[in-house]
Symmetry: C2
Subunit: 302 residues, 2 copies
């Protein structure tokens, strides 16, 4: 079912290419795409998930929905450049992982009569680029839309569009979004990056030993830590306050556990480890994950 | 092919039950099992992965191989209790996640004429108990055996036994084992436990939000942090020195990244995140994991 006549995808990486495939599969719109990198445009043409054009102005001209799918740090510049070419009554959205900073960068450029409804699909893989996309990336994943003064009709139509790509949609304000993401995504990623970096620097343990014996929790960290560096740099720089807040709490808790190890306080450790099991059960019950032992991948044993 | 006439499994949890199934499947030995908990013995009888007996003495009597599969903190007491009943020429091994502390606790109780070859299969799931085992748990996983003065024939036979259960075997000394595990397993687990604990304490983010939106790296942490609390308490208390060393390095690196976020040093972040990608590629190439996008589970997106 057509939700928009014409959707412009700006920045043709994993998310936009997956949107292109999903739009096509469900017949939600005619998708047009643009990327500043000519080689990315060529790959996108070869893959064929949307009609690729050679300028930003051409991409957004006549579009009912414009999706900004560029790194968070580039959103403001792209918004400024496309603003004069936006169709009156159009909706602009984005797929950035941080919302307050994106709103601060983009909103000032949105012309009167154009609606801005920020968004964030909680979906992805550790791969990037126009070849990485696939139509089912958003299937049964959450997409968060931001309602800070958004036009109700524009918001409702964008929700239907994301649902058409298979996503579940929740609406919240930008500040809350940024705290939630700092907890469930941004800080865990920083920690995983750090642990992988530490492993690299322990001279007594060789790279090949890390690789061979990593079936023990560490493997998940390496997967998390292999995501796109530019995207993650921008996330940490732009969701700074929330991430620093959560990092501060993390350090406090880690030091308390470290102290328990040092002084041999087994009860503290056992109590802590028992409490953390409950959240996992909740996640399995909410069907965000499977209860199959370790996804058949082995590796929980110490 | 029979490797031992009689193998005694002491402590009938995930590892022993998996060994029982694997021994049976490959016809490696006659397996006898004991657990101090009568209800665990009953479940083990019902599942039927070995012949269950009602005393430790009865289990080890006549056994060519005795496998200590109890929590690391209980190894010493079990070794002391079974010592008088061991058959001359028998081999004692264990499956503990820490090796120096287990050797210190167990070796003094091993009688002259009995061989002690410590071991550690790097395999497991987040489930525990006698119902959790399955025959292929060790398939293509590593099992580390410790050669600190071990009898060469006893070591060689134990290696063949583990290979018979599908494992790849590497031999190293106990101190090195403990450092390697502190890096690839113990410290990552502590960090995952900590992050899950922090998430629980952030009042502005509800439990249901954590559960719903955890498709973002955090989900892997909750899985890691749902492992057996007693096992992990004992690991941290007994591999204290190596874990505290790695935790110290981790804090240093994390603070450097935290500072980069605070002062807005994007280059530091980008360089760090770029370096961590290489280890991931090594792990995929070593076939310890799959290159499929995120195992179809979504969730790398910030």
């Amino acid at each position: 079912m057509m939700i928009y006549d014409r959707v412009a995808l700006i920045g043709l990486g994993l998310i936009a290419s997956s949107m292109g495939h999903a739009i096509k599969a469900a017949g939600l719109a005619n998708a047009v795409g643009f990327d500043t990198d000519a080689s990315v445009r060529q790959v996108a043409r070869d893959v064929g998930f949307c009609t690729v054009v050679d300028s930003l102005a051409e991409a957004v001209a006549g579009a009912d929905l414009v999706v900004l799918a560029v790194p968070v740090g580039a959103m403001g510049d792209v918004a400024a450049a496309m603003a004069p070419h936006l169709k009156p009554g159009a909706t602009v959205t984005d797929v950035g992982s941080v919302k307050q900073a994106v709103i601060a960068a983009v909103a000032p450029h949105i012309p009167t009569g154009v609606h801005f409804v920020p968004g964030h699909p909680l979906a992805g893989t550790e791969y990037s680029g126009p070849r990485a996309g696939f139509a089912t990336l958003f299937q049964d994943r959450w997409c968060l839309l931001i309602d800070d003064g958004a036009d109700a009709d524009a918001l409702s139509r964008l929700r239907t569009f994301w649902e058409g790509m298979g996503a579940n949609v929740d609406v919240m304000d930008a500040a809350h979004h940024d705290v939630v993401m700092a907890v469930v995504s941004h800080t865990p990623h920083l920690i995983a990056y750090t642990m992988v970096g530490v492993a690299e620097h322990v001279r007594r343990v060789s790279d090949s030993e890390i690789v061979k014996y990593s079936a023990s929790g560490f493997r998940d960290f390496t997967r998390i830590a292999s995501s796109d560096p530019t995207m993650w740099r921008d996330i940490f720089l732009t969701n700074k306050d929330a991430v620093l807040d959560i990092l501060g709490r993390f350090s406090e808790e880690l030091f308390a556990l470290q102290r328990a190890i040092r002084i041999g306080d087994g009860n503290h450790l056992h109590d802590y480890f028992t409490r953390t099991r409950a959240i996992r059960r909740g996640i399995v019950e909410a069907r965000q994950d499977t209860a199959a032992p370790n996804f058949g991948r082995g590796g929980e044993r110490g």
